[in-house]
């Protein structure tokens, strides 16, 4: 049985072939879910956003042009929806971070004594939305600056700045936790 590339499947989706769309979903649903869940932190919201991303892709299929890989296109749609969703909810303030009695200056040592995942969740939620998305695409999806730039509709230099600011903000938040 022939295996069609994503871009070929999308051209069939543009013609109204829902079987092709079903195949696209099955190939990429975990990616959309993974990004949405790491960004939003809530499974219900993550499922809504991931499904909405595919529905937006379906609606825009007649205008789809394979100028980039489908994965890049998917990242772009998911990233945009995640950021829009988070902006509606508003920022999370770092004062809500849990306290620690450890006086070690080393952030890694501090985190050994606390729930690392919960703390990282709160650190990420405290980041501005675009910094948060850049961190997730870099650390967890392993994308290059160029790939992140295409997903976030910006430049590689801007991505470098986003990651620089995010790392400084994360370190600052961790040191604030340590000093409490």
């Amino acid at each position: 049985m022939a295996v069609f590339k994503d871009e070929h499947l999308m051209l069939r989706v543009a013609e109204g072939d829902l079987d092709a769309f079903d195949e696209i979903v099955r190939r990429h649903q975990r990616t959309a879910w993974r990004i949405a869940h790491r960004f939003l932190g809530d499974p219900v919201e993550a499922e809504d956003v991931a499904q909405e991303a595919f529905l937006r892709i379906l609606a825009a299929a007649p205008r789809y042009r394979p100028t980039a890989t489908f994965s890049t296109y998917l990242y772009r749609v998911v990233a945009r929806l995640c950021i829009d969703n988070a902006r509606k909810k508003g920022p999370v303030f770092t004062d809500k971070l849990p306290e620690t009695v450890d006086s070690s200056p080393d952030p890694a040592t501090v985190l050994v004594r606390k729930d690392r995942d919960a703390l990282i969740r709160q650190l990420l939620d405290a980041l501005p939305t675009r910094q948060r998305m850049a961190v997730i695409l870099k650390y967890y999806e392993g994308l290059s600056y160029g790939e992140i730039a295409r997903a976030m509709e910006t430049t590689a230099k801007a991505v470098e700045k986003l990651l620089d600011r995010a790392r400084k903000a994360l370190r600052s938040s961790l040191l604030r936790v340590e000093k409490k």
Binding site: E15, D17, H37, F54, P107, R116, S144, Y145, L163, R171
Partner: protein, 170 residues
């Protein structure tokens, strides 16, 4: 290279985004500059925090099935299993979208229009065979008798029959 420049490039250095020649320059500087090395370690500590952190739960059961239900609601006329082909270039491609009874009705309409047109054209041909005298009686048309020689009418007719020549003063 100055420390200020090195520090501004540390993120790209850690992320492997540097071209080889610049990377070698930074390697050489970091080997001798403790301050820049300290900033590099700060970045690496933050990166290390995220290694293996934030595990994602499995994809919810039925994710694709629920999504396809929504997709079919938004596109009800394009049901699964029925492939359509690109028809924009075909003059009668629109007929492929119709059901069989509708196609029959469309063909019957076109046939009826052709028959009606041809039958009406036949009547026009028949009309041309009517004589002038018959035309007067049938259609009530007026027919003017030929102009008398030397009359003003004959002069006007003779002038109208002359071919027009540009610059002739006519």
């Amino acid at each position: 290279m100055r420390c200020e420049k090195i520090i501004s490039c540390l993120n790209a250095y850690v992320d492997g985004e540097q071209p080889d020649n610049l990377r070698r320059i930074m390697d050489d500087h970091l080997a001798i500059c403790g301050s820049c090395r300290g900033r590099l370690e700060e970045i690496r500590e933050i990166d290390a925090l995220f290694q293996g952190a934030l595990p994602v739960p499995p994809l919810p059961e039925g994710f694709a099935a629920r999504l396809m239900i929504k997709a079919r609601k938004r596109q009800p006329t394009r049901a699964s299993g029925r492939r359509s082909v690109p028809l924009a270039w075909h003059p009668f491609g629109w007929m492929a979208e119709l059901s069989a009874p509708m196609r029959l009705a469309a063909c019957a309409t076109v046939f009826l229009a052709l028959v009606t047109g041809l039958s009406l054209a036949g009547r026009d041909v028949a009309r041309r065979n009517v004589s002038i005298e018959q035309g007067k009686d049938i259609y009530g048309l007026e027919w003017f008798d030929p102009a008398l020689p030397g009359s003003i009418s004959s002069i006007y007719i003779a002038m109208a029959d002359q071919p027009y020549e540009k610059g002739s003063g006519q």
